[in-house]
Amino acid sequence: MTAVLDDDLPRRLTARESLQDRLFVHGVRGVGLLVLVIVSAIGLFLGLQSRPTLQHYGLSFFTEYRWLPSQDIVGIAAVLLGTVEVALVALLISFPLSVLSALFISDWAPPRLRPLLIRILDLMAAVPAIVFGLWVLVVVQPHATEVAHWVSKYFGWIPIFKVHTDVDYPIWNQAPGYPAYQGSAFIAAIAVAMMMFPMATSVMREVFSSAPAGEKEAALALGATRWAMVRTVVLPFGRSGIIGGTMLALGRALGETISVLLIISQAFKIKVNILESGTSTISAMIATGYREATPAQLSALLTAGFVLFLMTLAVNTVAAIIVARGRSGAETEL
């Protein structure tokens, strides 16, 4: 019996690919490698360009806040802080809105309305950043400065809400449009939040809607209210989507250029007062500083861009890991 089994080895299959297939595979692989070379060349170029800068300025590149290329004083401390500030404030604005809206679409909205809401969300993701920038600049800023004034008046004792101006000045005596409150990190963050919202919300919504229906029904059958059902089933299930979607949007927010550039009044200062006029981000600095840059300064700008890229890369990678851990969309079999 065993002898028979030993003889009964599986026949080795050799599938000879046809010429057509070999051409196809090699052609496609060639294009893939070309893209790999192009894309990694960008990363390598940025990395190599930043070497001379880092050698020249050393660690002071990260601790110096002034950007005075003419005096050879160059550092990204201020813009780095500004970038993080704008992104974090935008996150604070968009995060609650995103979670609540995603819940509305997945669990509160009537089923007939759902496709329409999803479509509007996708459309919002496609609205150009410059349009949101314009809207915040023209429509929102006059109101946002009032809010900023109010907050700084009553909560100015908290350092981040302090504005270096006389807040007790009668309102009709404030210069028109509150210049001390215009172009602040807070107002730029409103535009960035509008960019973050659709990205984060659509990731969250997708994860929320794939929460197991059986468990949801079980919770409802046990007498749970809708919120109790969401709290016990949907939110624990969607935790990876909440964190991952938020971080994905945060990666986008860090690199957001044009809406920030339109709104802020640029200033290279270490500043934690988010309501006060004057801030800068890495991307806004690149967009304004490239024109009159000498080769050395261009390399400094490229280094700043590389640092920005590394930041978004780190955020995106963590987000991708978190989202992938939550669900496995890659394997869909029949």
């Binding site: 692989r29 893939g32 349009v131 109101h143 250029t257 490229l302």
Partner: protein, 358 residues
């Protein structure tokens, strides 16, 4: 079989009781809280406290409404219902707020741009020789529209084939190298668009002395869009069921035949949507253009020589000029840009709808 027939006849004879989730008391509570909060807010705002401004009124009104609603519910219902209603109020308020913001964005842009838009020469003229304060009957944004179309067309014709073929390589050919490509592509989707622009500026314009032109801008857009398109296509191709591929191989089809006749047709609606949304993203991207294309005021259809303008850049320079009339032209251009994005979006929906029907 008999069971289903039985169920059907039962359903016909039995009138289904509507388990309405809302009783009259619920509705009255809602209305009462709404009216009460409005009255209270008005009283507090105009008579009691020295406050003013619309935002404060709305914020206070919403807070008072939630408090009243919770309080009135708590009179007759247990705590879980109160919590449910507070959360429901918030969950409804958040998308309403964002929806209003989105509507305000679109409407205010269109209204501010309307005066310039209603002159036909906005679509047929360029800004050559037009001073910022000139009437709307002079000058237009034809050069910017043409520039956007040319730049995006070049960028798409570079990025789309490369992106789709790379996606086919990653998902259909596979192997260790393909995984490396996927990792690198995913990493490069994090590349901020301004850095892509700076890269092209540093390499092409500074080092290779290529002039600021539409082609440089198109290359910057392509560099930015290539990883995005490759990744989006990869995601779409990966959800094509593996069983379909196996069935195709089992029938004796080769790799190329399987990809061409099975995988791509199955993925076509998703692929089209992903690519069109990628194009929409390119159309609206501004920051790489600031660095690479220069900004002409005249019509220039040659992407290789002389600066070229584009809609986002036109908007940016118009609004940044500080001249109110020129800024209105910027808003008109923003309306055109929004319409373009919307048209691409509708196209994507249309492709999905027509191709889904078998």
């Amino acid at each position: 079989m008999t069971a289903t027939v039985l169920e059907r006849t039962e359903q016909k004879t039995e009138t289904v009781r509507r388990t309405a989730p809302r009783t009259r008391e619920d509705v009255l509570t809602l209305v009462g809280a709404g009216v009460g909060s409005l009255a209270t807010t008005w009283l507090v705002y105009t008579k009691l406290l020295p406050l003013h401004g619309t935002i404060g009124f709305v914020v206070l009104g919403c807070a008072v409404f939630v408090a009243y609603y919770a309080g009135m519910t708590a009179l007759t219902r247990p705590w879980p219902v109160v919590a449910d209603r507070i959360v429901t109020a918030l969950v409804v308020a958040a998308p309403t707020l964002v929806g209003l913001a989105l509507a305000s964005t679109i409407i205010s842009t269109a209204i501010k741009g309307a005066p310039a838009l209603f002159h036909g020469n906005f679509f047929t003229d360029d800004m050559a020789g037009v001073r910022p304060g000139d009437e709307f009957s002079m000058g237009g944004a034809l050069h910017a529209m043409a520039g956007t179309l040319i730049e995006v067309a070049i960028a798409v014709s570079i990025a789309m084939p490369l992106g789709v073929i790379t996606a086919i390589y990653m998902s259909e050919v596979g192997g260790r190298l393909a995984r490396l490509v996927r990792v690198v592509i995913e990493a490069m989707t994090a590349l901020p668009s301004i850095v892509a622009g700076l890269f092209i500026y540093a390499v092409l314009i500074v080092n290779l002395h290529f002039p600021s032109s539409g082609f440089a801008a198109a290359l910057a857009l392509a560099v930015m869009g290539l990883p995005i398109m490759a990744r989006a296509s990869d995601v779409v191709l990966r959800v094509v069921p593996g069983g379909l591929r196996e069935a195709s191989y089992a029938l004796g089809a080769g790799k190329l035949q399987t990809v061409w006749h099975v995988v791509l047709p199955t993925a076509r609606p998703g692929l089209a949507t992903a690519l069109i949304l990628g194009i929409a993203r390119m159309v609206g991207e501004t920051s790489p253009l600031i660095l690479t294309s220069g900004a002409s005021t005249f019509m220039n259809a040659d992407p290789f020589h002389n600066p070229m303008n584009s809609l986002p850049l036109f908007i940016y320079s118009a609004v940044g000029s500080g001249d109110p009339r020129f800024a209105q032209r910027g808003f008109a251009a923003a309306t055109v840009l929004l319409t373009l994005v919307l048209a691409l979006f509708l196209l994507a929906r249309l492709v999905v709808r027509t191709k889904k029907a078998p």
